[in-house]
């Protein structure tokens, strides 16, 4: 029987984490995602699955706890919102450099600075272009419903372990705070020590006599071997780009114009598409589910059939740069966005399409 619940996105994420066989959550409170840790503390997953939950002294600390847990071959995660995500950047760079699997959730709020606690998508650059120092990439999943807040936890861990790479879920305050119905995934077991030793032989779980001691590090002082390491990472990123692009296309088959939007903006655009079609304007929606790797090829496949694209974001224009790179100037690319925590209404998108795109 389906396990149907009515939950906030943040709570669905937390419950899904327990069910994904997560071993540890380390976090620090920040609006609009504090419900994640609150839910876990109330739920006491140590009694359900043995999952560890710890409130750290800062995001700097929590991301480094994630580094260490991942280095032990465990499924570990953290969640935060924009200012906290900025604090985590050094740690995420270390995690990427040391090739550790983990899951991070950023429920984005408006910035820069302390900004606002209202929803935003202004951390797109930080999420998809690096964020921390060095040549690295995160796999970035963008949920646009409470259901996806739950579903992407298991998917995120699977991708993280498949590629030994950190996975970021980039949500926003709307998705985190909205209550919707959600079908909960079944409980997965946590990894056993044997599974960890077999499937993640690099993990620091204590040196056994049948292997050398394991070292988890992102350091290589020799330029030539450091270059080899970065090139190896690049090969992995190429593989991810080839295999892991995910996007949803709504009414794009006959579309003359295509909106590109992710997360909450995609939900708004879905409504805008209906409103525009009611007026006889053939508009479709392309919703990137992975923001990195970006659905460049999927956009390019639409280019010969459409007159223009419009990127709709709760920012002043970040993803639009990737849309432009994909379109290569072949057709018009416009942008519409609100910022500072304002969530645009579908009618505003309709107006923007009519005035900018047509």
């Amino acid at each position: 029987m389906e396990d149907l619940r009515l939950m906030k996105g943040n709570e669905a994420f937390a419950e899904a984490a327990i069910r994904a066989g997560c071993d540890g959550y380390f976090g620090y409170p920040i609006t609009p995602q504090s419900e994640v840790m609150e839910y876990l503390m109330k739920e006491q997953p140590e009694n359900r699955t043995g999952m560890v939950v710890l409130q750290a002294e800062s995001e700097v600390s929590s991301i480094n706890m994630v580094y260490a847990g991942a280095a032990c071959g465990k499924r570990v995660m953290t969640s935060t919102s924009s200012p906290g995500y900025s604090l985590m950047q050094e740690g995420i760079s270390y995690i990427a450099g040391a090739e550790l699997p983990c899951l991070v959730l950023n429920v984005v709020r408006g910035g820069p600075g302390l900004g606002t606690i209202q929803p935003s998508q202004s951390d797109y650059f930080q999420a998809t272009k690096g964020g921390g120092h060095g040549d690295y990439r995160l796999i970035v999943l963008a949920p646009s419903s409470v259901q996806e807040m739950a579903d992407f936890v298991g998917l995120g861990f699977d991708l993280a372990f498949k590629y030994r790479n950190p996975v970021l879920m980039l949500a926003d305050g709307v998705i985190g705070q909205t209550m919707e119905k959600v079908v909960m995934p079944p409980q997965r077991p946590r990894f056993t020590e044997e599974e960890i030793r077999r499937n993640t032989p690099w993990a620091t779980v204590g040196k056994s006599i049948d292997r050398e001691h394991n070292i988890v590090t992102s350091l290589d002082l020799q330029a030539d071997s450091q270059e080899r390491h970065v090139l190896h990472l690049q090969e992995k990123y190429n593989e991810i780009e080839a295999n892991e692009v995910r996007c949803e296309q709504i009414k794009c088959e006959d579309a003359e114009y295509v909106l590109v939007a992710y997360g909450s903006s995609a939900r708004i655009c879905q409504k805008a598409v209906d409103l525009l079609r009611a007026k006889g304007i053939k508009v479709g929606l392309l919703r990137p589910i992975t923001l990195w790797p970006f659905p460049t090829k999927e956009i390019q496949a639409l280019v010969p059939h459409v007159k223009g694209f419009m990127s709709v974001e709760m920012s002043l224009g970040q993803m639009v740069e990737d849309v432009r790179l994909a379109v290569e100037g072949k057709v018009k690319v416009e942008f519409f966005g609100r910022c500072g925590g304002i969530v645009p209404a579908p009618e505003e998108v309709v107006h923007a399409v009519e005035t900018k795109l047509l």
């Binding site: 071993d23 540890g24 380390f26 560890v52 710890l54 750290a56 002294e57 800062s58 700097v60 600390s61 929590s62 480094n64 706890m65 994630v66 580094y67 260490a68 847990g69 280095a71 032990c72 465990k74 570990v76 050094e90 740690g91 270390y94 040391a98 620091t204 779980v205 204590g206 040196k207 056994s208 006599i209 001691h213 394991n214 070292i215 988890v216 590090t217 992102s218 350091l219």
Partner: protein
């Protein structure tokens, strides 16, 4: 007597532990790190804990400790070793987990992690190597640099009225309820090394028995950073460093003794 007659098992007085690898250490001649590495690994070896040990060494001169210590090791970002050790111990409570940190690491950039790890009473062993300077980055002022001491960033001597006093973080964390034992050691004489080894053994036993955080400071010379010969550095340490950072027990079995 020939060499072959001397080299017999019954005459063996010292053997390098297999828990130190054969890699040539990068430390400067006269540096205390090698001795402290050996003391720690010898005790882990004697206690038969190689397969249960996970070590964390952050950025600092000992960032490559993982090349020398033949146990599973994680390299940490500067200051964050206590956060790493916390997660490792929480996820695998039956393991022996230690951090091995410098003074810049533990008492400057990582102060928050240090205090909160101790305050939570994470049952780990923290080894704090205090050389009163930033060795790795070329001899800049550390939180533990003595008053008047010249370093690359205090070229006229540490002016305590401008930059604060040398920080006794060990005395700061000792009263925290989560902390089980605190002591300060040196490695500048063979007797001191033996004392350190006894403290390490107790720290491992107590942390594995989940008594609380066990904290050992080791004052160690940095003759390169101090711009002294190895012999003079040890002398200077005894005369100056140990005057301010006084060796001995500070907290024993949960009780303050100083």
């Amino acid at each position: 007597m020939t060499l072959n007659e001397i080299c017999k098992p019954e005459n063996l007085v010292y053997k390098k532990t297999s828990l130190l690898t054969d890699k040539v250490m990068h430390y400067c001649p006269g540096c205390g790190h090698g001795t402290i590495h050996r003391a720690l690994m010898e005790v882990v070896d004697e206690m038969g804990l190689q397969d249960k040990t996970i070590g964390v060494a952050p950025v600092g001169c000992s960032v490559l400790a993982y090349d020398y210590m033949n146990v599973d090791m994680q390299e940490a970002a500067h200051g964050r070793a206590p956060a790493l050790a916390t997660a490792i111990k929480r996820l695998m409570p039956e393991k022996f987990v230690f951090t091995y940190q410098g003074d810049g690491d533990l008492a400057a950039i990582g102060t928050a992690e240090t205090i909160h790890c101790c305050n939570r009473g994470e049952p780990i062993l923290m080894i704090f190597v205090n050389n009163a300077i930033y060795g790795m980055t070329g001899g800049q002022m550390a939180p533990t640099t003595l008053e008047g001491m010249k370093t690359a960033t205090s070229p006229y001597g540490r002016d305590v009225h401008k930059v604060g006093w040398p920080l006794r973080i060990t005395e700061m964390i000792a009263p925290l309820n989560g902390v089980w034992s605190v002591s300060r050691h040196t490695v500048h004489t063979p007797a001191a090394v033996q004392k350190l080894k006894r403290a390490i053994k107790k720290g491992i036993e107590d942390s594995m028995a989940h008594k609380g955080t066990c904290f050992i400071e080791v004052c160690s010379s940095c003759n390169s950073g101090w711009k002294l010969s190895p012999v003079d550095a040890n002398k200077w340490m005894a005369e100056h460093v140990l005057e301010y950072f006084v060796p001995g027990d500070i907290k024993v079995d949960g009780q303050m003794v100083r």
